[in-house]
């Protein structure tokens, strides 16, 4: 065979040059790859679509490829300098490569799973403060919940609903082969707000999420692997799905620089309103006592001022400034991307802000035909000031919480001399919190990635590659929280003045070593890959809290009382995998895979837990019998996949951790509340999904439909133990849950011409979940106890079921009206999970104008609104009569505070005008390649019956369920932008 190759190699020479163009518009295509099948060599087209090849073969099969276009094959038998290869736009994106394994991919056309892709263009038509914000409404099954409106984010990302009650709820995030952290590290704010004292649980810091650090402009595409049927190969951490993020890589040719400048502002999305006591002052004495009556009279009574505190405190139009620059270029052997971003956001509360500075370099070098190395480096620096909001206790040092005690007639605003009036009805003055309390967060983050692709051999129909890829993610988070000593809320403390210094360092690294073998025979291509993975996670957080300060300084070196905490988390995992993908001539596809994982968090650290998977697809439209139908339905694929993946238990599950408890200098250790478990295993999620993808009328209509069913076994539960046992809880594998759902996407590209293009896309998803087995007694979780609304976990019920006071004991309206006192009577007050999510987007291009909007509709989700509970208690709710009714009702029921959280949000709106290329050339010569101006908005409109700021809320941060509880949060904002973009 070698001889045959050698002999043909000296036979003849072919010199080919030509152009690659768009088949519809005739425009030259830049960056298209033209590969010679026989030799493996190739060329990349320049800005005019030109390429050139010199080959020592007599006949060459050229394969031209470009992202977004269908691959085209041309056979050339004679030298030519005028070859024109026309590429058809790939409207259905069937040619796009989607990941099937750790080192392998397949054309979307053949993929056995529903894999969502968000491309750079789709990601941020309107700028997003943080990356995760831009996910809403784009992929069926991918939903987000913004936990807090504070600048810098705090967003929970969810794929296909619930996979776990206690484990990690966030998908695994892989950026250029590096597993990165999306954990939320607590800031230590509760030291000031006392949110977690007494009956409340942790965490209530309103933490930001670390996906926020990634510059959205750096992203080429995001592939969304929704569940175990697709993610089995990622093993024991992949039950919640995987987001495979690829950043922009260099492109050969002249260096292109893209510049984008955004100016904008943030403003409050929705106000609640507050009671106008001038119109109706009944109940004033009950609510605020004689002091309240006196204050009302002093304010001028019915003729006094109505102070709109939402406007005073949340009314800032925060300025936004974002500059992004990306430079991409390279030669045949070396490609590079350099990018930078500076973004400054002011919040809607005075003094709050979020700044991000990010730089990235991606470098690809081809050492030889055999060896390619990619290296990426990303440094991010963010700083934010998030103020004190959310739940609070004792001194009520939270803007929103203190406001629930603040009637509109009482003036607590800062005086002209800089001092603050004493707020007589609460221990804290919200105006003073805004001006004087600091809650700062600083992030430094470095993500480094590398990938090495070494071709060990390639012969006619076989190749073997060795791939090493991985990297590291280092995060340093620093929180500085300052509550100055001479503020009102500090006066009630023994040692006024409180500072917190919180330092978190988080280090992840991972390495994949894979061998990929590919063989072709008779049109069948078999790709087999196998390899190992090492992954290490180290987290160390140190929090120092000092009280008793002499001055408004942030040092923790001061103070008379000191509390220190340290928490170390280590997780060391190793895995292996093997996978085989079989492509039957592009018509059918089959894959099987197996992953084995062991982890330090399991009780048995040496045991490999195995996670198998398989998938198959067939493209009916490529079969002979379809010929007659192909004019109407030109593409139809049926697909099915099954797989298992896991969720690891929290690393502390297995330990019985005594807590320090000293008395007067004697060193004590106290039995912990949570018992250790010496038999803890990963949760195991088995998922099966079926679906079809269709393209109708030559790609004008495309449709995707998927049904999935998941069984989650060995569910890790925080088992409540009777406190008389000495422990209150233990993490155990003790239950099973079933979820299922449907996902659909419909894209209609009704008009497609050079001048006008109209694309409409609707995505829909609906998930249901049920606890099918519970080996522990039913229990309530989340919130602040049953009377204020909690979530019940019991067999036969959804894990999102909200229960309240009236759900226990005899109740004529309950399914079991004769329940004994304290017994669950079956009454569910609502379900946190929406009936459905629907995203509707429309993109219209007319000549140089592009209009895009995205509506996000969430229907039927319920939210426990405790902000309203608090304002009702003090009588300052705007709906005075209804509030009285709720207060009467709440002695026996919780239902008045379980609200419908359905909403329709205008997530994104953008209008862009691209200057005519000729005009651009006339104006700027060759200096500017394109110029675009536009306006854009994010979350511009919200339609909801929910009474508070935003039904997307979670007082408890990222929780798979039991999160939809509102306690006086940082209100959500809308942002509006003016932008200008140009290429150099």
């Amino acid at each position: 065979m070698a001889i045959a190759l050698c002999s043909s190699a000296i036979a003849q020479e072919l010199n080919i040059s030509g152009r690659v163009v768009d088949a519809n518009t005739g425009e030259p295509l830049l960056g298209a790859a033209v590969r010679v099948k026989e030799t493996g060599s190739g060329a990349i087209t320049d800005a005019l679509g030109r390429f050139q090849l010199s080959l020592k073969v007599s006949s060459a099969t050229l394969i031209a490829k470009l992202v977004g276009y269908k691959e085209k094959t041309v056979v050339v038998t004679a030298s030519t300098d005028n070859l024109v290869i026309q590429l058809q736009e790939d409207v259905l994106r069937t040619e796009e490569i989607v990941v099937t394994g750790l080192a392998t991919g397949i054309r979307r056309e053949s993929a056995p799973n529903s894999i969502g892709t968000i491309t750079a263009k789709e990601l941020i038509p309107a700028p997003a403060q943080t990356l995760d914000q831009a996910f809403a409404g784009k992929v069926p099954g991918l939903s987000i919940r913004q936990n807090t409106g504070a600048p810098g984010g705090g967003i929970s990302v969810n794929l296909r609903g619930i996979t776990t009650l206690q484990g990690n709820t966030q998908p695994l995030i892989v950026i250029d082969g590096v597993i990165v952290s999306n954990e939320s590290f607590n800031s230590g704010l509760t030291a000031i707000t006392d949110a977690t004292v007494g009956a409340s649980q942790s965490p209530q810091d309103q933490p930001s999420s670390r996906l926020a650090d990634i510059n959205p402009n750096d992203i080429e595409d995001i592939q969304v692997l929704k569940g175990p049927a697709a993610t089995a190969i990622y093993g024991s951490k992949a039950a919640a799905g995987v987001l495979v993020i690829t950043t922009k890589q260099g492109k050969p040719g002249d260096t292109r620089i893209d510049v984008s400048q955004q100016f904008g502002f943030n403003s409050i999305l929705k106000v609640q309103g507050t009671r106008d006591w001038r119109k109706d002052s009944t109940g004033l004495r009950t609510a605020f006592g004689q002091a309240g009556v006196d204050a009302f009279v002093r304010s001028g009574g019915v003729n006094g001022e109505y102070i709109d505190y939402e406007r005073e405190f949340y009314g800032q139009n925060g300025f936004i400034n974002e500059t992004s620059i990306t430079a991409r270029g390279g030669s045949a052997t070396t490609l590079f991307t350099l990018s930078g971003q500076a973004r400054n956001d002011q919040g809607i509360i005075r003094n709050t802000f979020y700044n991000r500075y990010a730089v990235r370099s991606n470098l690809t070098h081809r050492f030889s035909e055999r060896l390619t190395v990619d290296v990426g480096l990303n440094y991010v620096n963010t700083s934010s000031q998030r103020s004190a909001t959310g739940n609070a206790n004792v001194t009520l040092t939270s803007i929103g919480y203190a406001m629930t005690r603040l009637p509109s007639f009482l003036d607590v605003r800062q005086r002209p001399d800089g001092t603050f009036p004493v707020f007589p009805f609460a221990p804290s003055n919200p105006a003073e919190i805004i001006e004087r309390v600091r809650n700062e967060e600083y992030i430094d983050r470095l993500i480094g990635s590398f990938r090495l692709d070494f071709n060990i051999f390639r012969i006619e129909n076989q190749s073997l590659n060795f791939i090493a890829s991985g990297g590291a993610d280092y995060i340093s988070q620093r929180n500085v929280i300052v509550s100055p000593p001479n503020t009102q809320h500090e006066q009630a403390k023994a040692a006024p003045g409180e500072n917190v210094a919180n330092n978190v360092t988080n280090f992840f690294n991972n390495l994949w070593l894979s061998a990929v073998h590919n063989v072709n025979f008779g049109g069948v291509s078999v790709t087999t890959s196998a390899g190992f993975q090492i992954e290490n996670r180290d987290n160390n957080s140190i929090l120092v809290n000092v009280r008793g300060l002499t001055a408004d300084l942030s040092s923790v070196g001061l103070g008379v009382e000191v509390t220190q905490q340290q928490s170390i988390t280590r997780q060391y995992d190793q895995g292996f995998y093997i996978q085989s993908d079989i492509d039957f001539g592009g018509v059918g596809f089959l894959n099987v895979k197996l992953r084995g994982d062991r982890s330090s968090v399991n009780s048995d650290v040496n045991r490999f837990y195995l996670f198998p998977g398989a998938g198959a697809s067939i493209i009916l439209s490529k079969l002979d019998f379809w010929k007659d139908l192909s004019r109407t339905i030109d593409y139809l694929k049926l697909r099915a996949a099954v797989g298992q993946a896991g969720t690891l238990a929290p690393p502390e599950s297995k330990f019985l951790s005594f807590v320090p408890a000293n008395v007067a200098g004697l060193i004590g250790a106290l039995v912990p509340l949570r018992n250790g478990n010496d038999n803890v295993r990963p949760e195991r999620t088995t998922e099966i999904e079926f679906g079809l993808d269709a393209g109708i009328l030559n790609g004008i209509v495309s449709l995707e439909f998927t049904y999935f069913l998941r069984n989650i076994d060995d569910l890790i539960l925080l088992k409540q133990l009777p406190p008389s046992s000495g422990f209150t809880s233990q993490l155990v594998n003790g239950g099973a849950m079933r979820t299922n759902g449907i996902e659909a996407a419909l894209t209609v590209n009704a008009i497609r011409s050079r001048e006008v293009d109209l694309t409409t896309r609707i995505i829909f998803s609906r998930n249901r979940a049920e606890i099918t087995r519970l080996d522990v007694p039913p229990f309530q979780r989340g919130g602040f106890g049953v009377n204020l609304g909690a979530y019940t976990i019991r067999e036969g019920y959804s894990p999102f079921s909200i229960v309240g006071r009236e759900s226990f004991g005899p109740n004529p309206n309950a399914p079991n009206p004769n329940a004994r006192p304290g017994e669950f009577n079956g009454l569910i007050l609502g379900d946190e999970q929406p009936d459905f999510n629907l995203g509707f987007s429309n993109s219209l291009r007319v000549f140089g104008f592009e209009l895009f909007f995205l509506l996000d509709w969430r229907q039927g989700n319920k939210v426990i609104n405790l902000s309203r509970f608090l304002t009702d208690g003090t009588g300052i709710s705007p709906d005075v009569e209804a509030a009285r009714e709720r207060v009467r009702a709440r002695a026996t029921s919780t239902a008045p505070y379980v609200e419908d959280g359905s909403f329709v949000k205008l997530r994104e709106l953008s209008l862009t005008y691209t200057l005519d290329p000729e005009l651009t050339r006339n104006l700027f010569g060759n200096a500017v390649s394109y110029l675009r101006i536009g306006i854009a908005g994010r979350n511009l409109l919200m339609f909801t019956r929910y009474s508070s700021y935003d039904p997307e809320v979670s007082n408890f941060g990222n929780l798979a369920s039991a999160g939809s509880i509102e306690v006086t949060p940082f209100p959500s904002s809308r942002s509006f932008y003016f932008n200008i973009q140009f290429g150099l």
């Binding site: 006392d194 004689q290 005594f658 008395v663 008389s724 000495g726 019991r794």
Partner: protein
């Protein structure tokens, strides 16, 4: 393909690959996966001292218990605006068995008991001299019994659990009388253990809260004092007097002598705790206010030093409740909280002399007068105490002497109902005499057993 050029090419690339991997790989390694808890000591490494001090530390987690008993007994009102349940559960009388306002009264007690249980296991395995082991057991059992007693006070007629079981149905709920009997037995067992300790010292140090009671012999006096309290609750006044005679009861009518006893102590040192009842009584809006009846019903407001436990100030109303004084039982955040004081022992003796099988009103009056003199109040005229007024006088002194120490509600529940006093709700004891401030408010007789303690239904 296997020509020389190709091969050179291959080896060159391979060398590069190996070179790159040699730099990259060592940073990963394969760390030991089988490591101990990086954040906390494992139980096997803990000392007796750690267990003893940990037990003391957990006993101090008593804020919810004092606020709960104090609010229900109408000694205080929690005006904290952060949570309306301080009023709805304790004052309006709608306790939520699923929430922290009910569980918070007893769960910390069970945690202390669990600590005590592990402590006893550790003592058994510690290879101590027999006397020291007995001393340690006597210490642990006395404190465990005290924790059980507080649970009894909270749950009263609803009964309580003694055994630890991870299964809610695993441990029986013991009715009240039987519970008191078990507590008494455990105290007696501890007493025996302490007596067997002889002159051996405790094999660990006690905090300054036990100053004067930190040897097995003196600690026994504390044990007997607790036993006297339990005997009084049982109505066994003979046993009460017997136990008192072995306690640290003392007749000197000085304030310092009244305060003599055993305390929870606090500090601001790391991993220590501060007093949960501390507040700046004069701050603009403290949480703990005094029930108005406390000051109103006092007959010697000019001189009664026991009123120093409150801070008189402007009138404040909240949710239809009114007060003009704030709690001042912990003027600093490191003020101690009493567990058992001589003042209570004197009042227990007076009680035994009034309610015992052979009442001795003169002797009882003498005890009451020791307490009154120490408080700066004129003693009752000699011989003025009789069957008609003795109990009222005792309850009055107990109310002011033991203010906010967890007694008032328990006392009003256990002392016999005043003949002829209207009791529309059929409340036990004298609970019908506790004031109701708002229409709809009710007096809780006992807290329900928390939901997590009950088998799922």
């Amino acid at each position: 393909m296997l020509n020389r050029q190709n091969f050179t090419h291959f080896t060159k690339s391979l060398m590069r690959v190996l070179g790159i991997l040699l730099i990259m790989l060592p940073q990963y390694g394969c760390p030991n996966r089988d490591f101990a808890d990086p954040n906390a000591p494992s139980p096997a490494t803990l000392t007796l001292q750690s267990f003893a001090t940990g037990l003391e530390a957990q006993m101090r987690v008593i804020g919810t218990y004092l606020i709960g008993t104090g609010s229900v007994g109408r000694e205080m009102i929690h005006f904290g605006q952060d949570d309306p349940r301080f009023r709805s559960e304790y004052i309006a009388g709608q306790p939520d068995p699923g929430g922290g306002f009910v569980g918070g009264g007893v769960n910390p007690r069970y945690r202390a008991i669990a600590q005590g249980r592990l402590f006893l296991e550790r003592i058994a395995g510690a290879n101590l001299p027999a006397e020291q082991a007995e001393a340690a057991r006597g210490f642990a059992n006395t404190l465990i019994a005290y924790q059980y007693l507080l649970i009894h006070n909270w749950q009263y007629d609803n009964g309580m659990k003694f055994e630890a079981s991870a299964d809610p149905a695993g441990a029986p709920i013991v009715p009240r009388t039987e519970a008191l009997r078990r507590i008494a037995n455990l105290l007696d067992e501890a007493d025996q253990q302490l007596s067997r300790a002889g002159n051996a010292p405790f094999p660990f140090r006690l905090s300054p809260g036990f100053a004067g009671f930190n040897t097995p012999a003196t600690f026994r006096q504390f044990n007997r004092g607790l036993r006297a309290r339990v005997a009084a609750y049982q109505g066994d006044y003979a046993k009460c007097l017997e136990a008192l005679s072995q306690s640290f009861i003392s007749d000197t009518p000085t304030e310092a002598n009244m305060q003599r006893g055993v305390y929870h102590v606090f500090s601001t040192a790391p991993n220590d705790a501060t007093n949960p009842m501390f507040q700046v009584a004069s701050a603009p809006l403290p949480n703990f206010w005094v029930h108005p009846s406390f000051f109103r019903d006092n007959t010697d407001t000019a001189t009664d030093r026991r009123l120093n436990k409150i801070f008189r100030r402007e009138t404040r109303s909240f949710e239809g409740l009114t007060s003009s004084a704030t709690l001042n039982i912990a003027p600093t955040n490191v003020s101690p909280l009493p567990i058992l004081r001589n003042e209570e022992l004197l009042l227990l003796r007076a009680e035994a002399r009034i309610l015992g099988p052979s009442p001795d009103f003169a002797a009882a009056e003498a005890d009451l007068n020791v307490v009154r003199r120490a408080a700066g109040v004129a003693p009752y005229p000699t011989g003025s105490t009789n069957a008609a007024n003795a109990l009222d006088r005792l309850i009055y002194e107990r109310r002011y002497s033991l203010f906010m120490e967890g007694h008032r509600w328990v006392d009003m529940r256990r002392f016999p109902t005043r003949p002829g006093s209207p009791n529309p709700n059929n409340l036990p004891g004298r609970l019908n005499e506790l004031p109701l401030d708002r229409p709809g408010d009710r007096i809780i007789v006992s807290f329900p057993i928390p939901i997590p303690e009950l088998p799922p239904r």
